[in-house]
């Protein structure tokens, strides 16, 4: 019923292409800085060329945007970004302290490409965590974590990652994925 990686059918692929086309045209217009019909047509032409010449594997987006959950994700993300930046700054100027770290494997509960990518991006942007390796088939992220000194800190970080994943799924995931997070929250 809820196959984690359903094949994109023709209709969703077409929708994806239209979204990509309009998105790239928008970037083109922003690059020029002013809106004109010539810019719009030029942007569409460039976007169409890119889509034809450099095709990418289809991304399955089965979810929908939930504005409240998205705002919550962004707010907590900004807070994490600021807190972690200050921590890394402090770590850099602190004298006589060598930061230890750890490489942790975290298995995400929703192993779609989109969720893996979004979680990895959000993690990478926050200081202190870096994606070293991704096991796409198993849905596992291998994360290098800065300033970890014992097992307890490592386990706390693992829970943080799962909480981040839950916020992302709550913001953009499909109802089936949200349900999966909810049922597995108490699980492994």
């Amino acid at each position: 019923m809820n196959d984690p990686r359903p094949e994109a059918d023709a209709r969703t692929r077409r929708t994806n292409h239209v979204v990509a086309l309009l998105g790239m045209a928008l970037v083109w217009i922003l690059l020029w800085g002013t809106f004109s019909w010539a810019n719009l047509l030029g942007g569409l032409a460039v976007a169409a060329f890119i889509l034809v010449a450099l095709p990418l594997p289809p991304v399955v987006f089965g979810g929908r945007l939930r504005p409240v959950a998205l705002a919550r994700f962004v707010a907590i993300f900004v807070r994490d970004l600021v807190v972690a930046s200050v921590q890394v700054t402090w770590l850099a100027v602190r004298v006589g302290h060598t930061p230890h770290s750890a490489i942790l494997a975290v298995r995400l509960r929703v192993d779609t490409d989109l969720n893996l990518t979004l979680t990895a991006e959000a993690l990478s942007l926050v200081p202190g965590s870096l994606i070293v390796e991704v096991d796409r088939a198993a849905g596992v992220l291998y994360i290098h974590v800065l300033d970890i000194h014992d097992r307890a800190e490592a386990e706390r970080f693992r829970l943080d990652v799962l909480a981040l994943e839950a916020r992302i799924v709550a913001a953009v995931g499909s109802p089936a994925e949200v349900a999966r997070i909810r049922t597995e929250r108490s699980g492994p």
């Binding site: 800085g33 930046s85 890394v88 700054t89 750890a102 070293v132």
Partner: protein
């Protein structure tokens, strides 16, 4: 000096401070993997603050759209760059294993 200009200078100085910290961390952290944190991270916040400061200073649509684009491209590409360098460093063994409390990636490789 208006309040907006004052806010712009605060953002610019804060952004520059974070970028400076990234530079310091780059020289002080012990190995490639830790340095990647410094190279990509305080710099992300620093860069966003500098862009915000510039936007408050310029206040014209053309400039602001360009600044927004710079921000978006930085946020999407910095993690990819960090991942590629980190992955290459790990695979070629250029990291201080003695500083790792746990290495679950090595555990996985040992299982095979």
């Amino acid at each position: 000096m208006s309040a907006i200009d004052a806010a712009a200078s605060v953002f610019l100085i804060a952004g520059a401070t974070f970028s400076l910290a990234a530079g310091i961390a780059l020289t002080r952290f012990p190995d490639v993997l830790s340095r990647m944190h410094a190279a990509t991270k305080p710099q992300v916040l620093g860069m966003l603050l500098v862009l915000l400061g510039c936007a408050l200073r310029f206040r014209s649509t053309v400039d602001i759209t360009t600044l927004v684009l710079i921000g978006i491209f930085q946020l999407t590409t910095a993690p990819v760059a960090a991942h590629m360098v980190g992955r290459a460093a790990y695979r070629s063994g250029v990291y201080r294993a003695d500083l790792l409390v746990a290495d679950e990636l090595a555990d996985r490789r040992a299982d095979r």
